[in-house]
Amino acid sequence: MTSELDIFVGNTTLIDEDVYRLWLDGYSVTDAVALRVRSGILEQTGATAAVLQSDTMDHYRTFHMLERLLHAPPKLLHQLIFQIPPSRQALLIERYYAFDEAFVREVLGKKLSKGTKKDLDDISTKTGITLKSCRRQVVEEMRGSLVDNIQQHFLLSDRLARDYAAIVFFANNRFETGKKKLQYLSFGDFAFCAELMIQNWTLGAVDSQMDDMDMDLDKEFLQDLKELKVLVADKDLLDLHKSLVCTALRGKLGVFSEMEANFKNLSRGLVNVAAKLTHNKDVRDLFVDLVEKFVEPCRSDHWPLSDVRFFLNQYSASVHSLDGFRHQALWDRYMGTLRGCLLRLYHD
C-alpha cells in the first residue's frame, strides 16, 4: 500500500511556524521530518512518523505555493486563493525576509552581482547556512533596491526594514567591510553605523522632500568636511583644543596620560578621515580608517569604553569653545554621527 496522493486544504490556510522556519532554512522534507521527530513532537501528540511526514509535505507544498506571492508581498494581501489572517500574513512576510546575520556580514559591501552568487557556495560553507537559504536571501536583497520604500513595498516591520536599508546603503556606497581588521565587527555594528549615516549624512537627512536620496551621502557635506582640516592644520587651534579637553578631563579619565600623549594623533586621524571623504575610494575605506586611526590606538592603550565616551564627548564639545573655528554646525553633523559610530565600533 503506497500513498499516491495525500493533501489537506483548510478554508483558513494552516501555517505551522516551526515547519515554516525549517522550510526557510532550506531543509528538505526528509531533514525537516527528522528534526521534528527529534523535537519530541511525536511523544507530545502521540502521532506517528507517517503522520508527521504527511503533515510536513503538506506544509511544504503550501509554502511552495505561497512563495510566488511572497516575492511581491502586496500580492499576498490581495490574493484570494489563500485565506490567511492578517497577523499570519505579516508573520509569513517577516520571516521570509528575515536574514542570517552571519550571511549578511559576508555579503555586505560586495557588489551584488552574478559574481557574488557564484561565491555563495563559499559563504555557505563558511557560515553553515544551506545554499538554498542563501539564494533566497540574495534574491530578496536584489529586490530591495528601493531603500526608502522597502517597508511599504515589502510590508516589513520597522526593525527589518531598517536592516535592509543598511544593507542597501552599504552595497550602494561599497564600504569596505571584508578586511581582516574589520572581521571583529558584526552586522549589527555596521547596521547601526549605516542608520546613523543615513539619518545624518545623506541628502535625504537634510531635505525631507528628496525622499529617494537616502542612498547617497550628501556630496556637498563631504566637500565641506575639508574645512575641518583647520583643526589639525592650525597648530594654535590644535593646542588650544587639546588643553581644553585635557582640563576638562583631568582626573576623570583612567587613561589620562595616554590620552594626553596621543591627543594630537587621534585628533589628526579623525579630522583627516573627514577631509578625505571627498574621494570615493576613501569613503569606501571609512571603516578601515576609523579602526586604524582611532579604535586600534585606543585599544592598544587599553582605554575602557567609558573613557572613550568621555573623551569623544569632550573632544567634540570643546570645539565650540574654539573662537577661531567657524564651522561649528558642520563639525556637529560630522562628529555627532562619528561619535556614535566609534563608540559602537569600539569593542573587541
Partner: protein, 1041 residues
Amino acid sequence: MPGKLKVKIVAGRHLPVMDRASDLTDAFVEVKFGNTTFKTDVYLKSLNPQWNSEWFKFEVDDEDLQDEPLQITVLDHDTYSANDAIGKVYIDIDPLLYSEAATVISGWFPIYDTIHGIRGEINVVVKVDLFNDLNRFRQSSCGVKFFCTTSIPKCYRAVIIHGFVEELVVNEDPEYQWIDRIRTPRASNEARQRLISLMSGELQRKIGLKVLEMRGNAVVGYLQCFDLEGESGLVVRAIGTACTLDKLSSPAAFLPACNSPSKEMKEIPFNEDPNPNTHSSGPSTPLKNQTYSFSPSKSYSRQSSSSDTDLSLTPKTGMGSGSAGKEGGPFKALLRQQTQSALEQREFPFFTLTAFPPGFLVHVGGVVSARSVKLLDRIHNPDEPETRDAWWAEIRQEIKSHAKALGCHAVVGYSESTSICEEVCILSASGTAAVLNPRFLQDGTVEGCLEQRLEENLPTRCGFCHIPYDELNMPFPAHLTYCYNCRKQKVPDVLFTTIDLPTDATVIGKGCLIQARLCRLKKKAQAEANATAISNLLPFMEYEVHTQLMNKLKLKGMNALFGLRIQITVGENMLMGLASATGVYLAALPTPGGIQIAGKTPNDGSYEQHISHMQKKINDTIAKNKELYEINPPEISEEIIGSPIPEPRQRSRLLRSQSESSDEVTELDLSHGKKDAFVLEIDDTDAMEDVHSLLTDVPPPSGFYSCNTEIMPGINNWTSEIQMFTSVRVIRLSSLNLTNQALNKNFNDLCENLLKSLYFKLRSMIPCCLCHVNFTVSLPEDELIQVTVTAVAITFDKNQALQTTKTPVEKSLQRASTDNEELLQFPLELCSDSLPSHPFPPAKEHLESASSNSGIPAAQRDRCSSWIELIKLKAQTIRRGSIKTTMTVEKASPVGDGNFRNRSAPPCANSTVGVVKMTPLSFIPGAKITKYLGIINMFFIRETTSLREEGGVSGFLHAFIAEVFAMVRAHVAALGGNAVVSYIMKQCVFMENPNKNQAQCLINVSGDAVVFVRESDLEVVSSQQPTTNCQSSCTEGEVTT
C-alpha cells in the same frame, strides 16, 4: 420581456503576462449571456487594467435568467493571431431573482482557466431589474428560494412542510469528445462546465415550478448531484423538501414579513398588544382557540402524546387529560388516518430534512434503505429521461413500502446516491422511517397547534424513541423494553437513524463517530454478468456493515446511531462499503449488553485462555470507552422497568432490500437468530480478524471529539473558532495476492491514518470537535482507493463542558426550560431566532480571545522555538525581534524614534480581502445568521498536461481545491455575504495518467451563502429580549389554564 440584466466590468488585477516581449497584457473582456455578447475596449499594456465599462444590458426571459449563467471571458488582444483566452468567470445570477436575497453582485472574482487555474481577478458588478410577470402559465419559478440546509433555515419559520420534490435532466456528456481529442481540452472542459451550469439552472427552475404547484415558496434540504455516466450521458438530478417559509423579523423590530395575508391578520394582535397585562386580545383567548384550534387535530395531537399504544389505557398521573386516555384507541386510529391522508396525497412522503421543528417528529421506526443495480445504456432522447426516472421511482416505492412495514407513513433524513463503474450503476436511497405530526403538513394553521405542543412538550423528549409499529405484529423480530424515560411506552434496544439527534432528546455522555469499513473482491466481468455478481455481493456487504456497526456501537457502550450513511462504491474488481454514523447513549433506551466471545472448540486449554484473554480485552475497551465518553447512566432496578417482553431477540432496525434489473425484491433479515446475548463466535481465522479489527480502532487523542452529525451530542458550549477543511487521500494497492482481508486492512488503515493526520493537523485547536465528518470513497482505477473527507473543526470551552456534563439533571432542566421558551416564542416569530443563541452561552467572552489568538498556545510555541535554536546554534537576535513585531500589526507603525522619517505602517492592516467562513453545518458558532443570500452551486474542471511541473498529483489537487475554496469565497463575498453554511463537496472525481504527465479533476460544491453577525455585536438587540420573554410567559399562563 420580464427581466433586464445589467453588467459592468470595472477592473482587473494580477493578470498573467500574455505578451512575452513586453511582459504585459492587452486585456479585454467578453460578457456573454444566452446568445448575446458584449465586449469591453482593449486596455493596452497592463496587468491591472481599468476598463470601467458602460453598463451592458441584456433583456431576457426570466426562464433564461434562471437557466443561464452569466459568462465573463477575459482575453488578451492579439492583432495578428487569434486572441488568447486568459480565463473565465461564471456567475450564477439566481440569487438576484428573489426579493429578500442579494440585490447586487459586486466584487473581485478569480479568473479561472481549466488548464492554468486561477489567473488574476476581475471586478464585476451585476444587477437585475425584474418586471412583474402576470403570465400564469410561465415556465419560470423566480422567487422560489433554495436552501442546502437540511433543517428549517435559522431566520425562517416553517408554516407548512409540503414534502418531497425531485427532478432530473439528462444530456450527452461533452467529455467523450475530449477523449476523442476532437477539440482542445480547454474547449471540452469549458463546454462541460457550461453545460452542467445550464442543466443545474434548468433543474432548479423545474423544481421551483413543482414547488409553486404545491403552493410552497422554498426548497429546503436541496441536494443536487451529477451522475457522470460516461458514454451513456450526463444526469443531473436533485431532491429537496418543499416548504412554505415565513421570514422572521428581528426580535426587536417585531415586524413580520409575511407572505400570506391571512397570517398577517393573525399577527396583528401581537403587534397591538405589547403590554403583557392586557392579554384579552392575545392569541390564546378562547375565541382564538376556537377559531384556530378547536379542530380535531388538537385532540389528535394530545392523543399522540399521551396514549400511543393500547397500554396507555391505564390511568395516567401526569400530563394529558383522563378522558382523552380512555378514548385512546380510536383516536390513535384517527391520527393515523388523518396523517396518512395528508401524506398519501403525495406520491412519496419523503423529507430530505434531518432536523425538525419541535413537535414535528412523533416516532422514529428505523433506517430504511434500498439499492438497485442497473446497466447503463445510452440515453437516446434527452428530453424524455424516462428510464432514469423509472429507476428512481422504483427505488422510492421500495423505500415507501419498507417504511409502511415499520408502521411509519413517512421517511425523514432521506437521501439518494449513485456509484458508477463503467456501465454498471448502483442506485441507493436511504432514510429513516418515521411518524410525523400532521399539522405541519397541512394547509391549516400552525397557531392552532401551539397549545397542543405545550402539552406534549415533555413526552416528546423520549417520544421519538417509542416504537411506531404494532408490537404484536412486528415487521421483524425485535427486543422491546419499556422506555427508560417515561416507563409507559415500548422502546427498542437500539435505534439506527439517518437524521440528526433531535435537540430535545436526552443523551447521557458524549457521542462519537462510528465507522464500519468493508471491502469485497469481485471478479472482473462484463455487463449482465457483472451486474449479477454485484447484486449477489450486496446483501453480504449490507449484513457485514451492519454487524460491524452494531459491534462497534456496543464496544462504545452506546445504544443509538444518528446520521447513518452507508455508502457502497463499485469498482472494476471490488466493492467498498463505508458506513459512518454518530453513536450516542439515549437515556430512553436500555443499556446495551456487552459482547460475548465464544469459541467453537472447547476442551482446548490454550484456546480457552486465548478466548478469555480476548473477552477481557473487549470488556476493558467497553469500560474505557464508557469513561471516555462519560457514559454513566443512572442505575435502575429491573422491577421498575418490568421484565422485557419475551420476543425473539434481534438488534436490527435496518430494513433493506436490494434489487437488480430484474426488479426482484428480496428482503434480508438482519437479525441474529435466537442468540440470547450478543455473541461473537470465533470459529475460524476470519472471525478472529474481525474481532481484532474491532479493537484496532483508536480513540481520538484527548481533547478531540468527532461526529458526523451537525453538532456533537453532549457538547453545547462552542466557541467561535472554526476551521473547515477537505482532505483527500489516494492509495495504490499492491496488485499481488489481494485478499479480502488484506483489502479490509488497507482500507481500515487508510481511514484511521487519515483521521490521525487530521487530529495532528488540528492539534492547535484543542479542545475541539470535528463535526459533520463526511467520508466519500471512490475507486477511480483498478488498484486505487480514494477517500475524501470534508469536516469542520470547532473549538469549545472545556471547563464549561465539564460543569454541564457533571450535572446532567440540571442541564436537562435547563433544556426543558429553554425548550419551553422556544416553544412559546414560536408564535411570536422568535423561535428559530433564539435557537442558535441558546447553545452557546459563553461565546461572548471567547470572541476576543479567539480572534487575537494566533493558533498555537504560547507554551508550545516557546518550546518549539527553543529546540530550533538549539539545533541551529545561530545568532537569532533579529529573528527574535521579528517574531515580536509580527504578533501585532500596529507595531509596524513608526517607533518613537524620530530620526526615521515618518514611514507609513505596512498596509497589512488595510487588506481588502474580507474573511469568508465556510462550514458544512447549518449554523456558525457564536454568531447569528441574519440573511440567506442564495444557493451556491458550482462545478469546476481542472486539467493539466504538466503534472510533474505542478508538483505531482498532490500539488495539482491541493492547488485546485484551494482554488475552488477561493472561488466559492469570492462569490459569497460578491453577494455581500460573509459565510457559506451547509457547505458540501458533492463530487471530487480525480483521474490521472502519470505516464502522459496528465491529470484531470472535477469538483462540485454547494452551500448557502449567508450574512452572519457575531453575537457580541447583537447586545443592543438582546437587551430587548426580556420584554418578549415576559410577554410569552404571560401567554403561557393563559394557554395552560
